[in-house]
Amino acid sequence: MAASPKARRSRVARASGPASPERDLPLGLTPAQCRHLYRQMVQIRRFEEHAAEAYAQAKVGGFLHLYIGEEAVAVGALAAGREDDHLLGHYRDHGYALARGCDPKSCMAELFGREDGLCHGRGGSMHLAQASRNFWGGYAIVGSHIPIGAGMAYAMQYQQRDQIVFDFFGDGATGNGIFHEGLNMAALWNLPIIFICENNLYGMGATLAEESPVSEMRIKAEGYTMPAVQCDGMDVLSVYEAVRQAAEHCRSGKGPFFVEALTYRFRGHSMADPELYRDKAEVQRWRTLDPIPRFGDFCVEHRVCSRKELAQINEEVEQEMLEAVAFADQSPWPDPGEVDRWIYAKPIDPEAAFAAKEEGALPVPEAEPEPKRAGV
């Protein structure tokens, strides 16, 4: 039912562009950049493999959605933007966090529900976020962050800032009305936002054909007069190229852009998924397109680094992730006495106000340190 990897890839324009002078690298990339891309993909992979292990040991609870197989999308896309561009994604969010440079320690601690987690254990795996890096979080109501991203883009436009918004979501999200409401607004107001649709052929157990009468998600953007391209989500350079084009478009004030990355998750939808709805053989076929060895081969072929150097990166990352797990293991639990902190940024205390009123003083609301917002 699902298109074979081969058939789908043939629709994708292969990464091309001017070769870099040294070593023949495309897209003006430097070897250091290539090594960085490779390292980030390995980071995500190893982070999640450790997370899966921790889940099996009941150190991670609730939902755990792995990005394994799709690493090229977050890594390629974010490399094409700036570090201060705004980033939102869905619950399958470890890749966004790590590609944005969040510390794996704080990410892992969040999965473990610990105080040192990015969100102090309040959010968990689905809700990683780090405002200081303009990573505004993983969102778990499918599609809900699509208009939210558009709103952030509006705030940038309004304040004449040149940051743009990266908004990642899945093929399944396009069946929800909120996707359309968000795209419509982005198009109406010409907002600087890249919609990045990770088309991995499934929305949980639903196949693409069950979700959508069209198999190409980019078609859904075209109704909003939005430029839309597909790229090979198993090839970090293809993603990089497509999103670089999108980012230029957005940053120059030309409005929103839609990028569809054709990709595949190698693991189940979440750890609870028995994967009854797809063939093992299909998974195997896609595994042959694994973006990590594929880009590793590219690096070796283009003399970015040797196999040994790749292995060394792998080893460094493995160390880093072992440390992340150890850190998370040792991080304290959040204090249950603080469970009602952060309900409000400006808490209200009617008892105090009443007491003050009794004493004749008017209740003056306390000025609190203003919580961080992007534009300020």
């Binding site: 529900g113 109501i141 599609g143 469970v339």
Partner: protein, 345 residues
């Protein structure tokens, strides 16, 4: 007319029911299956209910048995699903729409409140909407957006019937009633009950087996305090009742409401008039949760019968946190039921 209802062939109604011990999950599944066998108008629709088998594996196997016309995989479009199911009901079918969890039901609330609940009334009784919306509440480190439960909201809407079974037998019997009911029924299961087991009378293909909507059940008779509960909190209330009997010599009457709209107040009031003390046990937020409505009505009907304030056990008013330690500090427990009773005594 293409179908007759109920389809008479294969019916074994009238036959004495067999009793089996089954899980809550299987009780729901077999109720769906039996009703689909009995009446071709019954269809299922929802997200990941076919190949995946349902996110809690409730609909597993039904696609293979009934095919995609009767077990429909839908896009992730909660409002659309309920709207579509309302239309299918108006068109002569008996749809059972699954919303993966009650959290996502917020997206469909307009269709539930302004379509399903309203049409019979607003069009002057010309037609009704025989729709069942099955959904699930529950928690377990699911985080802030996936751990909520909104039965109080549904139960405040005129035109809806709202059911929350606690046992496999009630899950079956009430689901049969819900599907056969001409009105929209919100049927809320509980993720932490799916693996619990209990005796269920099976009556495949038959007409019987219904447990009536709107009738509460005194699950454990008692003399000193009335514990009013539903869904998972019934188990907490029963546990508390044992502890209180054993450790405090307090005799608790435990009532399983089963239906949240309309509430079987006569059964509740009858109990309160005997015990003079009440603890209401729910899992939604304390401020304005379902228990608040219950409390309001009970104090109105039983003011002079009450020896002390009606107690409530409910979710703490916090958005819910992922971390295990924090979650523990928020969710209602049987210990809290015990404490509430002790506060009264």
């Amino acid at each position: 007319m293409l179908f007759r209802s109920p389809r008479p062939s294969r019916s074994r109604s009238g036959r004495a029911s067999e009793v089996a011990v089954v899980s809550y999950r299987d009780a729901v599944r077999t109720a769906l299956r039996d009703e689909m066998l009995r009446d071709q108008r019954v269809i299922l629709m929802g997200e990941s209910i076919t190949g995946y088998g349902g996110s809690y594996a409730v609909t597993k196997g039904l696609l293979d048995e009934f095919g995609p016309k009767r077990v429909m995989e839908t896009p992730i479009a909660e409002a659309g699903i309920v709207g579509f199911a309302v239309g299918a009901a108006m068109g002569g079918l008996l749809p059972v729409a699954e919303l993966m969890t009650v959290n996502f039901a917020l997206l469909a609330l307009d269709q539930i409140v302004n379509s399903a609940a309203k049409f019979h009334y607003m069009f002057g009784g010309q037609w009704s909407v025989p729709l069942v919306v099955r959904t699930v509440s529950g928690f377990g480190q699911l985080g802030p957006t996936h751990s909520q439960t909104f039965e109080g909201w549904f139960a405040s809407v005129p035109g809806l019937k709202v059911v929350m079974p606690a046992t496999p037998a009630d899950a079956r019997g009430l689901l049969l009633s819900a599907i056969r009911d001409p009105d929209p029924v919100i049927f809320i299961e509980h993720s932490l009950l799916y693996s619990t087991k209990g005796e269920v009378a099976e009556s495949e293909g038959g007409d019987g087996g219904e447990i009536p909507i709107g009738v509460a059940k005194v699950v454990r008779p008692g003399a000193d305090v009335s514990l009013v509960a539903y869904s998972r909190m019934l188990l907490q209330a029963l546990q508390a009742a044992e502890v209180l009997e054993r450790d405090d010599g307090i005799s608790c009457e435990v009532i399983d409401l089963r239906t949240l709209r309309p509430v079987d107040y006569p059964t509740v009031v009858d109990s309160v008039r005997r015990t003079h003390q009440v603890v209401l046990c729910g899992e939604d937020w304390r401020s304005g949760g379902f228990g608040a409505g219950l409390l309001s009505e009970i104090q109105d009907r039983c003011f002079d019968d009450l020896d002390g304030p009606i107690q409530r056990v409910a979710m703490r008013d916090v958005p819910m946190a992922y971390s295990r330690q924090l979650e523990k500090a928020l969710v209602p427990t049987s210990e809290q039921v015990v404490e509430a009773v002790r506060r009264l005594n």
